[in-house]
């Protein structure tokens, strides 16, 4: 016999099952009918002949079954039979089955959703292969303990030239520099200029080749265009091309205006090139002989050679920094102790979200563990409950192996259902979960979709779990039946004792596991509640905000800026539904706010150059009234704090506490230093000025890239200056309106008011303050919300599992209870007996769980907000909850058992 014939026969039977059945029927029918015809020829009536033929042939179904078995259809048949049987058994226990399938499915779904996000956001971050090797550089001035990811032109050239001379060539394919900016984009045509504020990135020409991205249309900059005095050329990105120009291919060669300056579009960057968040790329046009070491406005990034990791480039970068330090420390004292460090951009973007994802993965793992424990106890419980059935089947000749396969199949069916439900749920839930995550936390270029890998992971998890539990209960059954053959008695055999002990351990560990999970859950829920009711230091509801920018070409002088703003505020205030209006250079909880150096006249700040930095906001007098930040000391700004009046500032409490500890900050003086960076050439830097602190306001929560910082770190020191005294900072201005009505409804009216004053003036980023706040706190909220959902799910799952296993334990003692009652035990005795044992196991589980949870919750203490990791309330509540579950689980079945007639109970098994 050849392997091939065996295989082909097997495949025939497997894949042409119905055909085989038909043929078998035809063959047997032919036999019987031909036989009958022969009998008819012998003189028997046709009917009688058929009857006799059938009898002589024998049981057709039996022979058919033997035929199927003969050709190996047996396995499939058994599997289907077992599956059908398994489904029947599962549907006989609908509550527990549903709970188990649901918990397992939920675990699988969450695994696949999280895996998809992790995969898209982190593992496959960049679209081109090179994008995955981009490393951002940061310089650290270790002597002054400051660090920045910004470089001055000369500092960039130090690195780039070193690379060109071959110093870093082993590690880096090249370096590029870029600077972020924003411009008002208008069309250069007469009709419809359609103003819009767009993010602009000024970059060195090599950025495109280093990323390995050819243009979608036209070309990218040439090195020749990327020099001072080069032509005004622009590359637009896919995003802008798609949104504003409806993918018009004739855009190449067209002229657009940025802040009124004409630029020629030379090309369109493809969709995958959405790094750095730009809509438009312009040549950076660095002077290759630049000696500028003070204006740090550039991001410098390198592309690693293949196979290099960012970390391994740290030593050569440090070596380079030492050389730069040796050369320039004489003229630039801040270079002492200069260090360049590589930052994996993927880590920088995903940042604390990655940490949160790991934590979530942990939570999911725990949920899976709970689900696993539940399924294990379900199957074990079922195996025990079916002891009689199993004994009968064994007695009738079924082999233990056959029974084990039955159990195995059932658990595969169970996990198959759960896996399917979980996969569908996971695909369905991805979009809503993703919608909760602010874009910049994932990286705009990441494409996140339900990945095949995530499906494999989740279905793999389902299969492994199902197989595991199937095998476990199968082994239990096999061992038990083997022992049973020896014992052959209905009293408790050694195997049953072992089963009882196994169950006791199961209950104990279920209890302990449940305690840990529910404690973690409780802490997360409490944290979530704390964060949703967090005191922000301002009141974000009923505030509408938007931004506008007054370009230097149209409003060259500060006076014009101040005039425009005060007139705008006047007009907006008179709109119906507006309670009050204010302008400021930044909005609460908004990213990218200005920082200003300052010093304190007559005092020494403990830094190398005697200056420190603080967040710096320029505000209209009504600002604090609009956002409702309370005043702590002194006074708010007044309209009289104008250009000619005494210079004043306000500071936040943190500032006052840091720089004027134990004294009143009001009336003290601050010198606002000349800005060293980000000054716009041609507009002139504002002069150094000394201002008096007029008032101190309460700390507000501030935006930080790391959400953890927003929640856990104290506010950074802040300085507020009156708009009328610092109008230069009002060019890029935000409007804030406190409204009586729903704030979003006023957006259009305000926009029209702005356009009425200047039709070229783009109004953008129209958002309610609530939306800004939600966006900033979004990631933390999301993670906590997800954690809370998982936590509650785990809690329910754990309680269901605990109840099921404990009540089952008591149900198993129906016979014993009947015996005791028949011998005269009272109800009280029985209740006491059952509860005592329940309480013993529960107490053991609680003690174990308490120990475990103290360890586990310490690990998650960094996630908690204003909740201690061994929060007494939570621990007490969890203990109470689980004890209650344990008691009910013992009491209910005990009562049921007592109601049973002792005679019936004695026969119960």
């Amino acid at each position: 016999m050849t392997f091939w014939s065996r295989f082909s026969s097997w495949s025939r039977t497997t894949f042409r099952r119905s055909r085989m059945e038909n043929e078998m029927d035809a063959e047997l029918r032919f036999h019987i009918e031909t036989f009958a015809e022969d009998l008819v020829r012998g003189g028997v009536s046709r009917e009688e002949a058929l009857r006799r033929a059938r009898i002589e042939f024998g049981g057709q179904e039996r022979f058919k079954e033997e035929c199927r078995e003969a050709v190996g259809a047996h396995f499939l048949e058994t599997f289907l039979q077992d599956s059908r049987y398994g489904l029947r058994m599962l549907s006989k226990n609908p509550g527990f089955t549903a709970a188990t399938v649901l918990t397992l499915a939920l675990g699988i779904a969450s695994t696949s959703v999280l895996f998809s996000i992790l995969d898209g956001a982190y593992i496959h971050f960049g679209e081109t292969e090179q994008a995955n090797r981009v490393v951002l550089l940061r310089q650290q001035f270790t002597k002054s303990e400051s660090r920045t990811s910004r470089f001055s032109p000369a500092e960039y050239l130090d690195i780039k030239n070193a690379r060109d001379k071959g110093v870093l060539a082993r590690w880096y394919a090249g370096f590029f520099a870029l600077a972020h900016s924003g411009s008002s984009l208008t069309e250069a045509t007469e009709s419809g200029q359609n103003p819009e504020q767009v993010p602009v990135v000024l970059a060195t020409a090599n950025i495109f080749s280093l990323y390995g991205v050819p243009p979608l249309l036209g070309r990218t900059f040439t090195a020749d265009e990327d020099r001072p005095g080069g032509p005004n050329v622009a590359v637009v990105t896919y995003r802008l091309w798609n949104r504003r120009y409806a993918r018009n291919p004739e855009i190449v060669g067209r002229t657009i205006k940025l802040d009124g300056v004409p630029y020629t579009i030379v090309g369109v960057a493809p969709r995958r090139f959405q790094h750095w968040g730009a809509d438009i790329y312009l040549p950076l046009a660095l002077d290759s002989a630049s000696g500028d070491r003070s204006q740090r406005t550039l991001n410098v990034a390198g592309v690693l050679n293949e196979g290099r990791s960012p970390d391994e480039t740290a030593p050569p970068l440090r070596e380079l920094a030492r050389r730069v330090e040796a050369e320039y420390a004489g003229t630039n004292p801040e270079y002492r102790g200069l260090v360049y460090t590589p930052v994996d951009v993927r880590k920088a973007v995903v940042g604390d979200l990655r940490m949160a994802l790991y934590v979530l993965m942990g939570a999911v793992g725990m949920l899976l563990l709970i689900a696993a424990a539940n399924i294990a106890s379900l199957l074990l419980a079922r195996a025990r409950a079916r002891a009689r059935e199993i004994a009968t089947r064994l007695a009738m000749g079924a082999t233990p192996g056959r029974l084990a396969r039955q159990f195995f199949t059932e658990s595969v069916v169970l996990s198959g259902i759960a896996g399917t439900v979980g996969a569908v749920l996971g695909i369905w839930a991805l979009a809503p979960v993703l919608a909760l995550i602010p874009e910049h936390y994932i990286g705009e270029e990441s494409v996140i979709h339900a990945s095949l890998a995530s499906f494999l992971v989740s279905s793999g998890a389902a299969l492994v779990l199902g197989t595991g539990f199937g095998m476990a209960s199968a082994m239990f059954v096999a061992r038990r039946s083997a022992a049973r053959k020896v014992a052959q008695t209905r009293t408790r055999s050694a195997a049953e004792e072992r089963g009882g002990r196994a169950r006791g351990i199961l209950v104990l560990s279920e209890m302990a596991l449940a305690f840990v999970v529910v404690t973690a859950a409780g802490l997360m829920v409490r944290t979530y509640r704390q964060i949703t009711t967090i005191d922000l230091g301002f009141q974000p509801d009923h505030v509408l905000t938007m931004r506008t920018a007054l370009p230097g070409l149209r409003y060259p002088r500060s006076v014009e800026v101040a005039k425009f703003l005060s007139e705008l505020l006047e007009r907006v205030r008179s709109l119906p539904g507006v309670v009050d209006a204010a302008a400021s250079s930044g909005r609460p909880m908004e990213g990218g706010q200005a920082v200003r150096s300052f010093s304190l006249p007559g005092r020494r700040l403990d830094t190398t150059d005697g200056t420190a930095t603080a967040r710096f906001l320029v505000i209209a007098p009504s600002y604090f009234a609009v956002v409702r930040t309370p005043l702590r000391r002194g006074r708010f700004f007044r309209e009289q704090d104008g250009a000619e009046a005494q210079r004043v500032v306000m500071v936040n409490e943190r500032f006052a506490h840091l720089y004027f500890p134990n004294e009143d900050a009001v009336g003290k003086q601050i010198r606002l230093e000349n800005r060293e960076s980000q000054s716009d050439p041609g507009r002139g830097a504002p002069a150094t000025s000394v201002a008096q602190i007029a008032g101190v306001v309460e700390d507000s929560k501030q935006f930080a890239w790391n959400v953890g910082d927003v929640l856990y770190e104290p506010a950074s020191p802040e300085i507020y200056a009156p708009l009328l005294q610092q109008p230069e900072d009002g060019r890029d201005i935000a409007l804030l309106l406190r409204t009586a009505a729903e704030p979003a409804t006023l957006a259009e009216a305000v926009r029209l008011e702005v356009l009425r004053m200047d039709p070229d003036q783009p109004v953008f980023s129209v958002q309610t303050l609530r939306a800004i706040t939600d966006e900033a706190l979004g990631p933390a909220r999301l993670c906590l919300l997800l954690l809370a959902i998982f936590a509650v799910t785990s809690m329910v799952t754990a309680c269901v599992g605990l109840y099921a296993i404990m009540s089952y334990e008591v149900t198993q003692r129906t016979q014993e209870i009947g015996l005791r009652m028949a011998l005269g035990a009272g109800r009280r005795d029985i209740v006491r007996l059952v509860l005592k044992e329940g309480i013993l196991v529960a107490a053991g589980g609680l003690a174990l769980g308490l120990l475990g949870s103290l360890g586990v919750t310490r690990l998650m203490s960094s996630l908690l907000y204003k909740v201690s990791s061994n929060d007494f309330v939570t621990l007490a509540a969890v203990s109470a909850l689980l004890s209650a579950v344990a008691l009910i689980a013992s009491y209910v079945p005990a009562r049921r058992a007592m109601r049973v007639d002792p005679l019936v109970a004695l026969r119960y098994e």
Binding site: A26, F30, H31, T34, F35, F63, A70
Partner: protein
């Protein structure tokens, strides 16, 4: 007619192989041929033929195809494969030597021991 004999365990396969070695036959035909050769001395449960046929086909010793029977019906015909021919030969030799040994043992007279 002589008394019918019950079929020895495991011999049905051999008989089937022998029956189809003389030419392709359908199941009923195989039954008739065995009865004809054995002169009706063997008792074979008719249905039990089919599991044996399926088993032999699965093992590759016989092959089947559908054809038309003498009474103008569609019938499944079995024929011996090359592997089946070798198998029949081996089984026959095996059976003969076994029969010799058994007969020898059973035919032993007391004085020969």
């Amino acid at each position: 007619m002589d008394k019918q004999l019950d079929l020895l365990q495991g011999t049905l396969d051999m008989l089937i192989l022998k029956a189809v070695s003389l030419g392709p036959l359908h199941g009923y035909g195989i039954l008739l041929r065995i009865q004809q050769i054995s002169k009706d001395r063997l008792e074979i449960q008719q249905g039990s033929l089919y599991p044996a046929l399926y088993r032999l086909e699965h093992q590759g010793w016989i092959a089947s195809e559908w054809g038309e029977s003498e009474n103008k019906r569609k019938a499944k015909y079995y024929r011996l494969t090359a592997a089946g021919k070798r198998r029949l030969q081996a089984e026959t030799e095996n059976w003969n030597s076994m029969a010799d040994v058994i007969a020898g043992i059973l035919g032993t007279k007391p004085e020969e021991i």
